[in-house]
Each structure stands twice: as structure tokens, then as C-alpha cells.
């Protein structure tokens, strides 16, 4: 599954991996904003931006082909609208849509490929994101793997029982709904189990903080350098 692979990537140890998540988030935002405001025919700027991404992928030790392939998930959307734009004569918009949305996807993949999602979320919290949101997202991610596997098993079990492809559509619909209902109930009871485990370890009603992220000079240098570089390239 996609998130399993990306999660594996994020647990490396390159110089990019060890940067503070806040620096990486800032660099990503600057990159995306600069890219969004770059016209589609500013070929040199876009080329340099692409080169920067490639350099990042190399330094991080991420699989180039794998990453570039995964970023293509945005292509169906952008190619469709690109085609529409091309057909009404707005050629630059078409090109811009396709190349810039692809580059954005690569940039996001690069950052998530060098930052575990929980670390990214904690970084967002340090930058001011609401605690409740961050904690919910953290728990979601933690149990995403477990519950998606359960859903996979249910799909397999259902498929194995579907020897007859002419089973009435309504019956299969009901079966899928029933499977979801069971998955819902199991998820609900799982949440209760988690709550009991929290209580057993003296949970006070408020999640304890563990501040393990330190913004070092290297992080500041990284964030500043990338941002300055991107802005300078954009202005030229």
C-alpha cells in the first residue's frame, strides 16, 4: 500500500531526514508558493526548481523512479483539464497546469519522504496548528495501517465467497454495507480498548507533551537558504 512505502522512505537517516520538521514545512511552503506564482513559460525558473527537487531526492536517498511514478497520481486530473485548456486555446495554462501540479506533487512527496508523518504533525503543532487536530491526525495515522489491513481482509473474504459473478447486485451492495458496519463496530470497540489502556496508565484527561524536536542552527540555515534561493531564482 502506498502509505506503507512512503512511511518506509521517511525513516531514513540522510541530512534531509534529520532536519527539523518545521524547517522542512517552511521550505515546502515557500517552494509551493513560489511555484504557484511562477508563470508557465518561465522555463528557466521551472527548470531550476525541478533541479532543486532532484537534488533533494538524491541527497535524501529516495528511489527516484519510484517517487516520480508516485507523483503521477495527480496527472489524470491535470491532463484532463490541461486538454480542455488546450482545446479552448489557452495553451500556456494547459502546460502550466500539467507541469506545475506535477512538480508540486513531487515536492510534497519529497518532504513526506524525509519526514515521518507524526514528526510532521508535531512540527505543525509547534507552528500553531490546533492540538486537537494534530492529536486526531496522529491517532488516525497510527491506526490507518491496522484498519486498512482489516478492510483488505474483508475484501478478500468477500471476493473468495463471490464464486458466482451473477450474484444479485443488491445482495453484494448489502454485503459491502454489512462489512462496513462490522468494520465500524470493531473500530469503535478498538477505540474503547485504547481508552482503557490509556486509563490504566494513569491518563489524566490531557495528553502529555514530549518535546523532542529541537530547532538547530542547521535547520535555520537550511530553511533560509532554500527560501532565499527560490525567491532569487524567481525574481531573475
Amino acid at each position: 500500500m502506498h502509505h506503507v512505502r512512503v512511511d518506509q522512505w521517511s525513516r531514513g537517516s540522510s541530512p534531509l531526514h534529520t532536519r527539523d520538521p518545521r524547517a522542512k514545512i517552511l521550505a515546502l511552503l515557500v517552494f509551493l508558493i513560489v511555484l504557484a506564482t511562477t508563470p508557465a513559460n518561465a522555463a528557466i525558473t521551472l527548470a531550476i526548481d525541478s533541479a532543486l527537487l532532484l537534488a533533494g531526492i538524491m541527497i535524501a536517498g529516495l528511489p527516484l523512479a519510484g517517487l516520480l511514478l508516485r507523483a503521477m497520481v495527480v496527472l489524470p486530473f491535470s491532463l484532463t483539464f490541461g486538454l480542455l485548456s488546450w482545446l479552448v486555446g489557452d495553451r500556456w495554462r494547459a502546460i502550466g497546469l500539467v507541469e506545475k501540479s506535477y512538480l508540486s506533487a513531487v515536492a510534497v512527496l519529497l518532504i513526506i519522504g524525509v519526514t515521518t508523518l507524526p514528526a510532521l504533525l508535531t512540527g505543525l503543532e509547534r507552528l500553531g496548528a490546533p492540538r486537537m487536530f494534530v492529536l486526531v491526525a496522529q491517532f488516525l495515522y497510527r491506526y490507518l495501517f491496522v484498519i486498512s489491513e482489516q478492510a483488505q481482509h474483508m475484501r478478500l473474504a468477500a471476493a473468495s465467497r463471490q464464486g458466482n459473478p451473477h450474484i444479485h447486485r443488491k445482495g453484494r451492495f448489502r454485503a459491502a454495507a454489512g462489512a462496513l458496519a462490522v468494520l465500524f463496530a470493531r473500530s469503535y470497540y478498538r477505540a474503547e480498548g485504547i481508552h482503557r489502556a490509556m486509563l490504566a496508565r494513569a491518563f489524566t484527561g490531557r495528553f502529555p507533551l514530549l518535546d523532542s524536536q529541537h530547532f538547530r542552527p542547521a535547520d535555520a540555515v537550511f530553511a533560509f537558504a532554500i527560501s532565499a534561493f527560490l525567491i532569487l531564482v524567481r525574481i531573475q
Binding site: 508558493i33 506564482t37 508563470p39 497520481v73 489557452d90 473500530s187 469503535y188
Partner: protein, 300 residues
């Protein structure tokens, strides 16, 4: 329905980011008041459930299948504010981990699906969820949540100057319509399944929500409706709207990006970008200060 980056024009995505950020903060605060931190595992696990549920295919026609989006189902199970928060988390993780939807476009996607979609979907359930017409209420809620999210997304794309001939717009609405019907059917079927397993797991209607939520839900519906109307009169309606806001959608419809390349000399871009960035930073700072002030008031 997840809009990637570089589809929306800068004023649009920036404005929606500026709207969504404080909204999510408000939702988080409201969810914390309603549920306190011990329910966080439940919210997270329910989010993971919706994610996983989106993998399960529901056969709906000759060779076609649909899947659950989940906004209305979450609203039934958790109440509207927590549901909106969970949807926000889902959308954020979809953007970062799955590149489904952009990062700058998070404000837009969150507004469309987590805020407007969930609120609009909850209104029928709040009004009729405890009556004998519960099934129809749930169906209507799920249907509306998808239609509102889709209409708003379409509206935002159009107002950003994405060219869409009339046929494409109608086709999009048809696709949303089908998706909305599927969502209704799945949501009803699943909630009924859950109630059969354990009636206590799904709420009848959240009495505590009250008038504020109802008002917000109605507003969300109106917004969605407005988006739908504007989009369906495109490109004419969009041009008129564009003229009013100076976005100049008309020229972007048919001409190449002449305005962009001619007008954006270095200083102009810097001015625009700085203005946009300054605006965002201002909103960010205001939120931080306001949040801290509220927190201090609470603890005092």
C-alpha cells in the same frame, strides 16, 4: 473532488486558506469542549475507519462501483464539529501522504469537504434524524454533503479561470449527482447495519448542537447552492463575477496567459506576493494571539 495545487488562482486558494485556518481552530476548540481529549482515540480511529472504508467497492451499475466519502456518516456517529475535525485530518493526510489534493489547496479542500460538506450534510439529520423519516434524512444529508462539496469545488475552479465548456460543467454535475446518490445509499445502508449491531453507536441527533450549528449548516447549504447556480450559468455568470472582483476571468478563458507574463515584472510579482504573504501572516498572527487570549480567559 480533491483539488490539486496549481489549479486555483492565487487569490482563491489564499482566501480559502485564510478562511479555513481559523475555522479549523474553532472546530478544534468546539470539539475539545464537546468531547475532551479522552475521545481523541475515537476520533482518530473513526478517521482511519473512513479511510479504510473508502477502499471497499459498492457495486452500483453495469461494471461501475462507488465508494464512501464519509462526511455524513461521521456526522451521524460523532456530531458535526468532531466530524468536521476528523474530515480535516483525513484531507490533510490525503494531501501529504497520498498527494490527493494539494497542500496550498488544503484550505479549499477542507472548506469544501470538511466544513461546508459536513455542515450541509448534517442539517437534514439534525432536523429529521430523530423522526420516523430518519432513513430519508440520512440519505438527504449524505446526498447534500457530496453535492455541496462538489459544487463549491467546481465554482472555485471556474472562478480561477479554468476553462470548462458548458458540456464539461454539466458532465461534472452529473458525476457529482451520481456520486451523491451513491453516498446516500451507502450511508443509509451502513448506518442501518450499525444500528442492527448496536443501536447505541450512532446518535439519533445531537441535541447539544442547537441553533448555531443549524445556522451554519443552512449557510453551508446556501453557499453550496450559490456555487451550483453560478457554475451552472458559466461561463457567463463567472465572467460577470470575475468582472466585479477584477479577476478578469474572461480573458483567461480564451487568451493565453498574456496578463501574467506582461504584467508580472519582478517588482510587481514581489508586490503581489508580499501582499499575499503579508495577508496570510497577518491572519496567522491574529489567530495565534486570539487563541492565546481565549486560553488565558479560560484559565483565569
Amino acid at each position: 473532488m480533491h483539488i490539486p495545487d496549481n489549479f486555483l488562482s492565487t487569490p482563491v486558494w489564499a482566501a480559502l486558506d485564510a478562511v479555513s485556518i481559523p475555522s479549523v481552530a474553532l472546530l478544534a476548540r468546539r470539539a475539545r469542549r464537546e468531547l475532551d481529549e479522552s475521545r481523541i482515540p475515537l476520533l482518530g480511529v473513526m478517521g482511519a475507519f473512513v479511510f479504510a472504508a473508502q477502499m471497499i467497492n459498492f457495486p452500483v451499475g453495469i461494471g461501475t462501483s462507488g465508494h464512501l466519502v464519509g462526511g455524513a456518516l461521521l456526522a451521524c456517529a460523532l456530531g458535526p464539529a468532531p466530524a468536521a475535525l476528523v474530515m480535516t485530518a483525513i484531507i490533510a493526510i490525503q494531501a501529504f501522504v497520498f498527494q490527493d489534493g494539494g497542500v496550498l489547496a488544503l484550505g479549499a479542500n477542507v472548506f469544501n469537504m470538511a466544513i461546508a460538506g459536513v455542515l450541509a450534510g448534517y442539517l437534514p439529520i439534525q432536523l429529521w434524524g430523530a423522526t420516523s423519516r430518519r432513513r430519508q434524512a440520512i440519505f438527504a444529508g449524505a446526498f447534500l454533503s457530496v453535492m455541496v462539496s462538489g459544487s463549491l469545488a467546481l465554482f472555485e475552479l471556474l472562478i480561477s479561470g479554468i476553462p470548462m465548456p458548458r458540456l464539461a460543467i454539466l458532465a461534472s454535475f452529473a458525476v457529482f449527482g451520481v456520486g451523491a446518490l451513491i453516498e446516500g445509499a451507502i450511508t443509509v445502508a451502513v448506518t442501518q447495519g450499525i444500528e442492527k449491531l448496536n443501536p447505541g453507536l450512532v446518535q439519533k441527533s445531537n441535541a447539544r448542537s442547537g441553533r448555531a450549528i443549524a445556522a451554519l449548516s443552512a449557510a453551508a447549504l446556501l453557499l453550496g447552492g450559490a456555487g451550483f447556480l453560478f457554475a451552472s450559468t458559466a461561463p457567463d455568470g463567472i465572467e460577470k463575477l470575475g468582472a466585479q472582483f477584477g479577476i478578469n476571468a474572461a480573458t483567461s478563458f480564451h487568451a493565453p496567459l498574456a496578463d501574467y507574463t506582461l504584467g508580472l515584472f519582478e517588482s510587481a510579482w514581489m508586490r503581489k506576493a508580499t501582499a499575499g504573504l503579508a495577508g496570510l501572516l497577518l491572519i496567522y498572527a491574529v489567530c495565534l494571539v486570539a487563541g492565546r487570549w481565549v486560553a488565558r480567559q479560560r484559565s483565569a
